[in-house]
């Protein structure tokens, strides 16, 4: 198996050559990927907000942000600076501790989930054995923060919004986990790296979307519901609930919800691209092309090209999904809460179960195509 570019090994080796002990070199390496991913995730907010505004504008025949920076790219930064300098108000009868803790609990798991998002064979913070399961576990923490902020705002709209958000994310977690389980069944591993490797080798034909079309749809719908994107944004439905659990929030506490929702959207898109769209794999397998022109896989320049192409492919797939999410936002009307729960429990859950059983049966019948 092609090991890909090994940045950690090169970094440690370089420092050891400079006369630093291997342990210290590894310790110096540790924070680097985390910082890079953290910055990347934060930048992705700006990109996503800009895309959201521009695509929305295009879909409505508007121009969108135009004057803040070239093509309005700095609009999100302007919004962020505004939110930072806004007065931080805690309502008089609110519970100040829970009110402050709520947004943090919503945001932290989302950023933590970036631990397992791979951008290449070795371009990941940690290759955990529990991989994708960690993401499911972490995303189940968010409802606690939502309930916390909904309860502590001391506002009926907030409480209802928080309860709705928690109910929604609990209901849609189950079909999502079942869809993931079908993928895991094929790759025989929970690790995100193994899941991508199982799809590699055949270019676009090897991606899981061909073997799991139903699972892909279920996962994408459930992911949209988890992110509270528009067809499922009823926790903050402004016609009924003002702004749901965000009603009483201002300043950076509101900003945290905002950041959380966009990072979550990007994260979900990344996970979908990893699970179903072959992660960092290009539509035409790079290693196959390389063997065609007779270049060894361990050639340094090829490794650099593969790694950067992998990062670009992952991001491209994720942002294509974000584009679809934004387009869906202006296409679909918001559904009612009873329709939401009916859809989750009476449609997605049975379909996901059938999909899981079918996958298991196909795996037994055709172990070649479905990961024996």
């Amino acid at each position: 198996m092609n090991q890909g570019i090994d940045l950690q090994g090169s970094f440690v080796n370089a420092l050891v050559d400079l006369g630093i002990s291997p342990g210290a070199a590894s310790a110096l390496w540790l924070p680097l990927p985390m910082v890079v991913i953290l910055i990347g995730a934060t930048v992705s907010i700006f990109v996503t907000v800009w895309l959201e505004r521009k695509i929305s504008a295009a879909a409505q025949q508007r121009i969108g942000p135009e004057f803040a920076g070239p093509l309005g790219t700095l609009q999100a930064a302007a919004d962020g600076i505004k939110l930072i300098f806004k007065e931080d108000i805690t309502p008089a009868k609110a519970d100040p501790i829970l009110f402050t803790l709520g947004p943090a609990i919503v945001v932290i798991p989302v950023f933590l989930s970036y631990l397992i998002v791979p951008f290449g064979q070795n371009l990941v913070i940690t290759d955990l054995g529990v991989g994708i399961f960690l993401w499911i576990a972490l995303s189940s923490i968010a409802p606690i923060g939502l309930l916390m902020s909904g309860y502590s705002s001391n506002n009926k709209y907030s409480l209802l919004g928080g309860l709705r958000a928690a109910a929604q994310s609990i209901s849609y977690e189950i079909p999502m986990a079942l869809a993931v389980l079908a993928v895991v069944l094929m790759s025989n591993s929970l690790s995100t790296i193994d899941i991508v490797n199982q799809q590699s080798g055949y270019g676009i034909l090897g991606w899981n979307i061909w073997r799991q079309p139903a699972g892909f749809l279920i996962f994408w719908i459930a992911a949209l519901a988890e992110c509270e994107r528009l067809p499922f944004d009823l926790p903050e439905a402004e016609e009924e609930l003002v702004a749901g659990y965000q009603t009483e929030y201002t300043g950076m506490k509101f900003g945290l919800f905002y950041v959380g929702s966009y990072v979550n959207l990007v994260l979900s898109a990344l996970i979908v691209s990893i699970l179903y769209l072959g992660g960092w794999e290009s539509p035409i397998s790079v290693s196959w092309l390389a063997s065609l022109i007779g270049v060894s896989e361990t050639t340094p320049w090829l490794q650099v090209i593969t790694a950067s192409l992998g990062i670009m492919m992952t991001l491209f797939k994720a942002y294509a999904l974000v584009f679809i999410a934004v387009l869906l936002r202006w296409t679909m009307p918001r559904i009612r809460i009873d329709q939401l729960l009916d859809f989750g429990w009476k449609f997605l859950l049975p379909v996901a179960l059938v999909n899981l059983l079918l996958t298991a049966a196909l795996k037994l019948a055709f172990p070649v195509a479905f990961g024996g």
């Binding site: 829970l98 054995g129 576990a137 409802p143 606690i144 309930l147 916390m148 309860l163 109910a167 929970l190």
Partner: protein, 204 residues
């Protein structure tokens, strides 16, 4: 002491403090919502302890099941049940308190005894680590099959019980074959429609 050991020690200290402090808070705080949220904190720090024990899968399962499901359900229960009751002081409440205290002290003594009597030798076995998922799965379907299935039956019973409790009996508006009762109709006299015969229309 290497860096890893130091980190482990500090993390253990913090997690233990969080677990113990959170657990005390769950029991001692007056506000039940605080107790529920602190319970979530206790579960999370227990997951952290599992990670320290190289049991990543169990830690993730702990977060998913206890924090993500059980604790959220407890919170739902607290927030949706809004029954205010008068506080009536019970006579001889001290009996209960003393009994609880006795039970607690007894439990504590029992646990202390067992902690002191267990030989805490660190086993030489290599921790399974990443392969834990596979090992757990094998155990579930071989030697622990009965407890596993019993637990699922228990969950099924709870599920059906919840459905029975939550399900409202279906009350049809009108029983089939029975004419609609007049009790629900408005006490208005039925109006004669204006006849459509030509010549009888007003204004001609």
């Amino acid at each position: 002491m290497t860096l890893a050991e130091g980190v482990q020690l500090v993390a253990f200290g913090i997690l233990t403090a969080m677990t113990l402090g959170g657990a005390l808070g769950v029991v001692l705080l007056d506000n039940i919502v605080y107790s529920a949220f602190l319970l979530g904190g206790v579960f999370t720090s227990m997951a952290g302890l599992y990670i320290l024990l190289n049991a990543g899968f169990v830690a993730a399962a702990q977060v998913l099941v206890y924090v993500g499901a059980v604790n959220v359900l407890i919170l739902f229960g607290i927030m949706l049940v809004n029954k205010e009751q008068e506080f009536t002081p019970i006579k001889q409440a001290w009996v209960g308190k003393v009994a609880t205290g006795g039970v607690c002290v007894g439990l504590f003594a029992l646990l202390t005894a067992s902690v002191l009597n267990t030989p805490w030798a660190i086993s030489a076995e290599v921790p399974t680590g990443e392969m834990a998922t596979v090992v757990i799965g094998i155990h579930f379907f071989t030697d622990y099959l009965l407890p596993f299935e019993l637990a699922s039956v228990l969950l099924l019973i709870a599920l059906i019980g919840a459905i029975v409790l939550a399900r409202r009996e279906f009350i049809p508006d009108v029983a089939p074959g029975e004419p609609a009762s007049e009790a629900l109709q408005l006490p208005e006299r039925p109006r004669e429609l204006v006849s459509s015969v030509p010549g009888s229309e007003p204004g001609r």
